[in-house]
Amino acid sequence: MTQTMTAAEVVKAARSDQKVTGPELINGLVTDFFELHGDRLGSDDPAIIGGIGRFHGQPLTVIATNRGATPEEKMATHFGCPSPGGYRKARRLMEQAAHFHRPVLCLVNTPGAYPGQTAEENGQGAAIAQNLLTLSQLPVPVLTVIFGEGGSGGALALAGGDEVWMLAHSTYSILSPEGFASILWKDSRKADQAAELMQLTPTALKQAGMIEGIIPEPRDHQKVIAAIDKVIAPRLQALQQLTVPALLAKRQQRYRKF
């Protein structure tokens, strides 16, 4: 199915309202989920949902982007664009996961980090940067599934771990095809052309060695959840077999080759 889609069609599908959501994925993949709020520095960004739960019986930390369901939620989450407090909440939960030796699962669908005056004042760049540092040394497995848009540094801040998997109808890119076309060709209408060039589809990214693999994405959300579960359960188990030095060396190598 994916093979027959153009890059522009994948972009459209990745942004579809019909897609599985962050909360749905958490509830479908994890039992006994208990949400943990706040960055402990003065904010709690609803664009990032985090907490602990059980995955196949075993405790794990799960961190998901949230685009919101109602108009009010969409406004509050800036349509799934995290603020610095969201990245700091994620970082706090990653460090907590390391402290208690449980793996981290990140579920990402974001157009990117929120560009706003308050976000700038609160150090949006610094918040993402610190997550990258933390991820590179976190002594527990970190697996990311991109299930919609993987927008730039705002996605990388939750995707700098051991493995990155993508749903068939998702993208991962340096910026939106519209932004890319507008900056490089001064013409945002060339977005479709940009999408082809950018290597942002799961197929192109897999070919370029950017991701571990592609997860099929049937229309039915329960089937999507089952497909993700089927892929990540053995991967998390395999990563947990590694010693901490082996895990970190492998992770370092994953990014060193780029």
């Binding site: 005056q117 976000a119 700038e120 150090g123 610094a126 540094g153 910026l175 060039l197 370029a208 950017m210």
Partner: protein, 288 residues
Amino acid sequence: MKLYEKANTLSERVVKVDPQADERVPEGIYRRCPRCQTVFAAAQMDQYQTCPQCEYGFRLAAAARLAWLVDTAEPFDQDLQTKDPLAFPGYPTKVAQAQARTGLNDAVWTGQATIADTTFYLAIMDPTFIMGSLGTITGEKLTRLIERATAQRQPVVIYTASGGARMQEGIHSLMQMQKVAGALAQHHAAGLLSIVVLTDPTTGGVTASFAMEADLTLAEPRSLVGFAGRRVIEQTTHEQIAHDLQQAENVLRHGFIDQIVPRAEQRTVLVQLLKMGGRQDDANNDSC
């Protein structure tokens, strides 16, 4: 991350408002400060290329900065060449032009340097090389520099100047953020000192990675330091943003910069921090 957009800088906006301004200020004889708008004779500018009125540091090519910053400099990795990973139309030509103009293979100079017998590993990004954007070779040179510094137990000093990601390298550019972060994390874990000096402009993916990951963070007066582009913020929020939102002094007020250091003081400050800021059991601190 948005590419740093040229038309959004204070300087470009001023030129836009008054298109004749440049014509009335003949290049080479007079200069106009893009921050305080003062017009002054170019001859009034010292070797540091700073505004005599407000201390704003004009954008410098890496070679020009190197000339006054260090006493000795031994470059690394000058032969690495980008592979044009997206086969982006016109990109190889753009790179070749930037190489010819700057004498660099990519947007950063890296090497071993000394100031007054203090040795350290140094990176200087060049804002005139495709806007100092973070290409694969930019990231590779930075990573190799930091890895060498870790192996040799040396401190690193990184001067940032960047429009952010290298759009023409797409996702390959994004991965450089994590690659350099990984090297810095190992350097830090080894107990070694890193210093970043933010210069005009430091934006996008560079701000969201190694520009904000050092132990000590300095900045040049009135330099632009931010994550998102001004126009992107204004289009997203439908609000006019404060003119100084992304000025280093304001970023310091919000807690992300240790100190603003004018160019004329940087040699002295770097030596002081290199000797005092790291672990005292490391050789560099009392080298003479």
